[in-house]
């Protein structure tokens, strides 16, 4: 079988059923201990940490940042935990991957690093700008929100899939594979 040079081979991946059950149980465990899983708020908290580090006093004057905790809390620790979890899982399965341009991106947009980095930055900007308008992301609003049967989670979930599918179809409209 021809491989695209991808380090993480599908055969090494965890089956989606096992993964789905594990993630569901983890979410229930989180709710049983401290609260549902969430990520996007932590970007705002991290911004607050960075601004404070650089001596800015905007944290106390800005209406949004002033509501954020000044120290790391349970929810914030999820974020560094996810970086470590991704690192350990990749390390233990031999799937550390230091590439800059994803294979599929390369096949559609070429192998320019600046181009990919610009898209990665712009995409990240839109992700968090949108998530904080809505009050959560895929984790906080869909996984946990819909998981807690909040109507908001279903509304947000439908919006992100509709917009994501349309955008992906547009980006790859000239590409058969």
């Amino acid at each position: 079988m021809k491989s695209g040079g991808q380090l993480l081979q599908p055969k090494k991946r965890l089956n989606w059923i096992a993964g789905g059950i594990l993630l569901g149980l983890l979410n229930a465990f989180a709710v049983a201990t401290y609260g549902a899983l969430g990520v996007s708020r932590n970007y705002v908290v991290a911004d607050g940490f960075l601004l404070r580090l650089f001596g800015s006093d905007i944290n106390s004057t800005n209406s949004y940042l002033s509501g954020m905790p000044a120290t790391a809390d349970w929810l914030f620790m999820i974020a560094p935990g996810m970086v470590i979890g991704g690192f350990l899982a990749a390390l233990l399965t031999g799937s550390i991957n230091t590439r800059s341009v994803p294979r599929l991106w390369k096949s559609r947009f070429g192998d320019s690093k600046p181009k990919r980095f610009a898209a990665a930055f712009a995409g990240g900007f839109l992700l968090l700008f949108g998530a904080r308008i809505a009050g959560g992301c895929t984790s906080g609003l869909v996984l946990s929100g819909a998981g807690q049967l909040a109507v908001a989670g279903f509304v947000f979930g439908a919006s992100i899939f509709a917009s994501g599918i349309i955008t992906a179809k547009l980006l790859y409209r000239r590409q058969a594979p």
Binding site: W74, N97, G124, L127, A131, G147
Partner: protein, 220 residues
């Protein structure tokens, strides 16, 4: 139902600290994050290809995984709640902000191929573009904070129904709603998983739709 705090509500109701800052809270938060990241990495949710091919409706593995996690989570959460120890926080339903925020989020999702959580995981795996997405995310979150006073009256305050859950609307016990939702998800996942449909053909990202069912095995 015990509502100690509202996790997704920091935007409208600045509750501050979530889950505590003592050693146990910090250690358990980190451990929960490590498990979360490891599961996402092992399933392939931190892969640009897996996410973009999901949004292109070429490979629905991550979608099936994610929906199943929502269902299992719902049953688990309301089982825990029935035992009386759940820290449940229902997100507020403000339609305009959820839809507009979701549309903006979805565009970013397709452009970078990560979400706020999976970009952290992919960064841990060593992917350089994912680290750039995290930087973009920090900038986007800051931009929202700086424009919040302008956005809030426009998108958050109007049509804001506050924390609203399906069981509230239906007038049914939450655990029953969770079980029914999970049953619907399992049927839907099984439908998506039927041979030859949105199924991963190979690591080269060939279109699943053009692949004969018998060949759609996903690897040597």
């Amino acid at each position: 139902m015990s509502i100690y705090f509202t996790i997704a509500q920091a935007a409208t109701d600045t509750t501050g600290v979530v889950g505590g800052t003592d050693f146990r809270a910090i250690a358990l938060g980190l451990l929960t994050g490590v498990s979360f990241g490891a599961i996402l990495q092992r399933v392939g949710a931190s892969s640009y290809e897996m996410i973009v091919n999901m949004l292109r409706l070429k490979d629905l593995t991550v979608m099936k995984f994610f929906f199943l996690a929502v269902g299992v989570g719902a049953v688990g959460i309301y089982t825990v709640d029935a035992l009386g120890t759940a820290h449940i926080g229902i997100a507020p339903l403000y339609l305009l902000g959820l839809v507009v925020g979701g549309l903006v989020f979805g565009a970013g999702w397709a452009i970078c191929g990560y979400c706020p959580g999976t970009s952290l995981v992919a960064m841990g795996e060593g992917k350089v573009d994912a680290a750039i997405t995290v930087l973009g995310g920090l900038a986007g979150a800051l931009a929202l904070a700086l424009t919040w006073d302008w956005i809030r009256p426009l998108l958050v305050d109007p049509l804001n129904f506050g924390p609203t859950s399906l069981p509230d609307i239906l007038g049914v016990r939450p655990l029953l709603v969770a079980v029914v939702l999970t049953a619907i998800i399992v049927v839907f996942d099984a439908y998506l998983d039927r041979p030859g449909t949105g199924r991963k053909s190979s690591s080269t990202g060939k279109p699943a739709g053009n692949t004969a069912p018998g060949r759609a095995q996903g690897g040597p």
